[in-house]
Amino acid sequence: MSEDRKYDRVAYYPGCALEGTGHAYNRSTKAVGKALDLKLDEVKNWNCCGAMEVKNIDPKIQTYLSSRVMSIAANEMGHDVVMAPCNGCYHNLKKAEYDLAHDDGSKEVVDRLSTKAGHETYEAGQVETIHALDWIKDGIGEDGLKAKVKNSLQGIKIANYYGCMYTRPRHIFPEKDKGPGSDSTSEPHFMDDLLAAAGAENVDFPLKTACCGGAHTLSDSDISTKLVLNILEAAEAAGADVIATECPTCHTGLEMHQIRAEKRLGRKTTVKILYFTQLLGMALGLSARKVGVQENISDSRGFLKEKGLA
């Protein structure tokens, strides 16, 4: 069991979205950490990882931006694990790790930019980047979580939505697809496992890793609306009350385009959208307000009250 305690104290990289539209995710992640006694040290003076946009100017700029975050965590704070709850941040740190280990050109640019920017360069292997899902799944486990549940999610039907960046492309996630104990890139299940441990009923949801069109949520809104509507309607058809999310871009995209689909296409859906950390937090006995439910665009307060969670 000693292995299980490896995420007791990790470096925490919230990223820009968690200070803006995804603030409820930041709040609920910290609250869940506190309730589970998992300590978070925020990366000092962090910068944006490059999100989905900077790589389209030049991928190596994104590699540098992500490497700086890992460099601070490792070289200035002495951490060997960085936890990023945002799929975009998580993905970019993983991608930078892969490129620095496999591509000399990327390493040369990162070394050069780090020297000019006046900080130590990041060497591949200095830190392990994990998602908030790994953090809870491997840090506390389903049994550990079950023991702390005060307010079971029993009777809540959930469609677990993982999005694109948590699983694709496969080569940047070498720890996935390793069978039992690891997550899968084709059928991810860590969120299902955790919410089931908290008492929820997971529905059979075929669009777990479908794309919400997040990269073009504003620049090509019509396609994003269609993609989001697919996800919302599939979740409702599967019998879900709630879509659980693990990414601020997906989450906000689902919420915004749920409204846009109603306004522009006349297609109304009523499925609620909540971060998985909000659901876990409430299961751990935290109030809806503590996990930031009032900050969501999708208003689920009535529903949560009805289910005895708020």
Binding site: G20, T21, N47, G50, N56, I57, C164, R168, P169, L218
Partner: protein
């Protein structure tokens, strides 16, 4: 290599004649439909190399046309004309004029990476789509797409400050693309939020707009990144044979 031959049966290439006799044989009407013969003389032999010189396009040469990319493509499911396999074929064979027929939709790739996940040859088609969209813009075939305008705004802010502040990006994006900020669905969303947000949170959000987040001690990183962006721009212009490689 039959893929591009679909171009031969487009309506404008199909001919029927009301009254036509060849060597004494009547070939009029529907039963004697002709396909316009075509000779391609305008191959751009540099096309594949140019796409490969842009970030993301590096592995296009690996493609063996299995079609896994198009089969898995999120955008293709919405718009069947969005066909990465076909475009990769056209690029590799230098069929520039055929590629240009689809120039206005190539930027719509949403980077879901399903193609890259499915590709058995590690072509990384998502990168090829981005490289092709850049190529179209840099060569002047298309104006800047909303997507690249967004990417540039975002990158400018990250390079300048180290962090981004979402609401200012949204406002600037609507301004640069000439769209009104007061869209029915955005208004509905804002109204819904204002109804239930506590005063404390609204103050915090207001402060983020006034004092935009930034990474402290970022100035040296900023200078290094600005220099690097210029360097990339010069290299790309040189690879595409545009001027002497100096930025415009």
């Amino acid at each position: 290599m039959p893929i591009h031959e679909q171009s031969l049966i487009r309506p404008e290439n199909i001919k029927t004649h009301d009254k036509l006799e060849i060597d004494g044989i009547d070939v009029s009407g529907h039963w004697s439909t002709f396909i316009e013969s075509r000779v391609v003389t305008d191959y751009n032999e540099a096309l594949e190399d140019e796409i490969a010189a842009l970030p993301g396009g590096e592995y296009i040469h690996r493609c063996w046309q299995c079609g896994s990319c198009t089969n898995s493509c999120t955008v293709n499911a919405v718009n069947p004309d969005f066909n990465p396999r076909y475009w990769i074929y056209l690029i590799r064979t230098g069929m520039e004029s055929e590629l240009l027929r689809d120039k206005d939709i190539i930027w719509q790739c949403i980077s879901c990476n399903k193609c890259t996940y499915a590709c058995p040859r590690d072509v990384e088609p998502e990168g090829v789509m981005k490289a092709t969209a850049h190529w179209l813009e840099k060569k002047g075939h298309t104006p800047k797409s909303p997507s690249i305008i967004f990417d540039e705004l975002f990158a400018e802010q990250v390079i300048a400050r180290g962090k981004i502040e979402e609401s200012s990006i949204i406002r600037q994006f609507f301004k640069r693309t000439g769209q009104p900020l007061m869209q029915d669905w955005l208004v509905a969303m804002a109204r819904g939020l204002l109804m239930k947000l506590p005063v404390g949170l609204m103050r915090r959000m207001g402060l983020a707009v006034l004092f935009r987040p930034r990474t402290s001690g970022w100035s040296k990183a900023r200078a290094a990144l600005e220099e690097y962006v210029e360097e990339c721009e010069r290299e790309q212009r040189r690879a595409l044979g545009l001027g002497d490689g100096k930025p415009e």
